[in-house]
């Protein structure tokens, strides 16, 4: 599944992240455990939590990130 399809409060491990320099620099990479905080309406971004950081990722980009749900 892609990250944008993720459910709120569910944890995911990122499997395949696109090669985007800012995404990489901000530390969003394969193997990272994230949880979905919320999604913004009318095509807005998804907000994920990585440890104690909150990161907003554009819908178009989040649709390219594959992720696997974890318990």
């Amino acid at each position: 599944m892609h990250l944008y399809a993720g459910k709120k409060h569910q944890k995911y491990i990122l499997n395949d992240c696109p090669n985007d320099s800012l995404l990489n620099a901000i530390g969003v990479r394969n193997g990272l455990e994230v949880s979905v905080v919320t999604k913004q309406p009318i095509g807005g971004p998804i907000i994920i939590r990585v440890k104690k950081r909150e990161i907003a990722i554009d819908k178009s980009l989040a649709c390219l990130i594959t992720a696997k749900a974890v318990n």
Binding site: P41, I47, E54
Partner: protein, 577 residues
């Protein structure tokens, strides 16, 4: 209000130690810079506040060093304007790097630290925001981190001036170049270091953490936005009216004006010269009354509200919340920050767009700000002019402004080639702003306003007094009659607003105060002033940033739009009222 220095890179006074202050965006570099140098560069709680670099001298026991505040970057790939500046800075040589690390986001911050180690420059580290880390239950073993990095690490809370003195002293001690860490995988290495030096305790989620989450969830974020907007309006409009009515107007009307009028009338006999000084547009009267008694309270309260929001970290959350709407006009949501800055002054707003990435985005933001965003001084003038007559008239003018921003944004998004880049934004910690830092910031902004506004305001009023008292205004009024009277349905003397509006935006509004206008005429005059030309400082910045062609195109669009919208609004309102 040019808050940012731009000097040629590599400027290096002889014999002075050159220190680069570097780090990820929004880790508090500019606050540390201000604390170490005693200077006042602009700071805020969001990324990209430092769009160029600042330099200042650090003094300690008779020694001095040149400290350079480099824009915040995540790495050294030179993929953004800020990274280009940073790489150029490093290549032009330095005696020491001070790398600032955010104690709440250590793992991510270490990537840049590893990048910097590849340069053979002595480096020391500052672990800032350690108070916020503690609040979040994060404790970092500074000694162990120092061992890992093979360099000194200083713990600071820059906004509270904690740890700054020891840091300052260490800048003047010798620091040898240390060999770079051998790293196979930087992600693994940063993870390993962070896990070993960090202890995380479970802490009860505090109010600010809860509020942070409420601000970004649409169901709670939108009501919070409405509350913030209403509170901001209440403080600026209500508070400003109160300050004016209770303190400033009585001081000016009861003491200053009678004193100045009596003084001049006692010295200078009845003449055109005396009228230029204390007549209808008397320069000695209006130069105090307009900026200080009528506009200053609103400007002051705007900056109180704005600086609070800026330092709290609320604005990036608002950007995330508004991203969907902003996409419709071709902009990622974080462009809301230069927009809101534009309601203060367009100059820092235009400079702030340097952090926003593509030229396409910059042109859209800058055009919309120049066309339809009134600056704080003009807002003050609108509240004075319209707020006293009808709050609906004031709301109507702002409605026209928002509508134009939306329509012009949709149009520019279609006309300009290319796509907006996707939004990737790390949200800063939501903080309760530090009172001292906030007061200083407001004071700096007020000083800027007074210095920037006073000379053009004085010259503008002098010109108005001269034109009115010599009768020249009558001739100009007759010349502009078809436009001002025929099309805009304003009195002939309203031509004065068009002349003064060239100097400053609020000066296109203030002369209307002195005329006995109907509500429709007040609205028409305000709509024309809203769109009219960008002020001289804005025009100069547009030329510097985008060249003459685009600056002229923006100025021409605003000029044509001012008369088109003024005329249409006048016709429609006269039909229904």
């Amino acid at each position: 209000m040019d808050c940012h220095q731009t000097k040629p890179l590599g400027n290096r006074p002889e014999g002075i130690k050159r220190i680069l202050l570097m780090g990820n965006p929004n880790v508090g570099k500019s606050v540390i810079f201000n604390r170490l140098t005693g200077l006042d560069v602009v700071t805020a709680n969001y990324t990209g506040t430092t769009v160029t670099y600042h330099e200042g001298l650090v003094r300690f026991q008779g020694n001095q060093a040149l400290l350079i505040d480099v824009p915040g970057i995540y790495g050294l790939n030179a993929q953004s304007k800020a990274e280009e500046v940073a790489v150029e800075m490093l290549n032009s040589g330095a005696d020491l790097i001070v790398c600032v690390l955010d104690a709440t986001h250590l793992e991510r911050n270490l990537h840049l630290a590893f990048d910097l180690q590849t340069y053979d420059i002595p480096t020391l580290y500052v672990l800032n925001l350690s108070d916020v880390a503690k609040r979040k239950g994060i404790t970092i073993d500074v000694h162990l981190l120092s061992k890992y990095l093979n360099a000194p690490v200083f713990e600071t809370v820059a906004v509270k001036n904690i740890g700054i003195d020891i840091l300052k002293e260490s800048l003047f001690k010798p620091h040898p170049v240390k060999p770079a860490l051998k790293i196979l995988d930087r992600h693994e290495k940063s993870q390993e270091i962070t896990e070993n030096v960090t202890q995380e305790h479970d802490v009860e989620i505090g109010f600010l953490e809860r509020l942070s989450e409420w601000c970004i969830k649409p169901r709670t974020g939108i009501p919070i936005l409405i509350i913030v907007l209403l509170a901001a309006l209440g403080i600026i409009v209500g508070g400003g009216k109160g300050l004016r009515a209770l303190i400033l107007l009585p001081l000016v009307n009861n003491y200053y004006i009678p004193f100045m009028t009596n003084l001049i009338e006692g010295i200078i006999p009845e003449s055109v010269f005396r009228n230029v000084l204390v007549g209808e547009f008397g320069v000695l009267i209006k130069v105090i009354e307009w900026p200080f008694a009528l506009i200053l309270p609103y400007v002051f309260l705007f900056y109180v509200v704005f600086s609070f929001l800026e330092d709290s970290g609320y604005l990036p959350r608002l950007g995330v919340l508004m991203d969907g709407i902003f996409r419709k006009i071709g902009l990622p949501g974080n462009n809301i920050i230069p927009f809101i800055l534009g309601y203060g002054c367009a100059v820092p707003a235009i400079l702030g767009t340097r952090a926003s990435g593509s030229r396409r985005e910059r042109i859209i933001v800058v055009s919309l700000i120049s066309i339809a965003v009134p600056c704080t001084a003009q807002t003050g003038a609108f509240i004075t002019l319209l707020g006293d007559r009808s709050i609906f008239a004031l709301a109507f003018v702002y409605f026209i402004s928002f509508l134009t921003i939306l329509l012009a944004g949709l149009l520019l998004n279609r006309l300009l080639k290319g796509k907006s880049r996707p939004l990737i934004l790390e949200l800063p910690n939501l903080l309760m702003p530090d009172f001292k830092t906030l007061s200083k910031k407001i004071w700096i902004k007020m000083k800027h306003f007074i210095y920037e506004a006073q000379v053009p305001m004085f010259l503008g009023i002098l010109l108005a007094a001269f034109l009115v008292e010599t009768g020249m205004m009558n001739t100009i009024g007759t010349f502009l009659e078809p436009l001002v009277v025929g099309w805009l349905d304003l009195p002939k003397e309203a031509s004065l607003s068009l002349i003064l509006g060239v100097v400053r935006r609020e000066l296109a509004v203030m002369p209307l105060l002195e005329m006995n206008l109907t509500t429709v005429q007040l609205i028409t005059g305000s709509v024309v002033a809203l769109f009219y030309l960008p002020c001289i400082s804005v025009f100069v910045i547009l030329v510097k940033e985008f060249k003459v062609k685009i600056a002229l195109l923006i100025a021409l669009s605003t000029f044509v739009l001012a008369f088109a919208m003024g005329g249409i609004v006048q016709i429609l309102l006269n039909l229904v009222m």
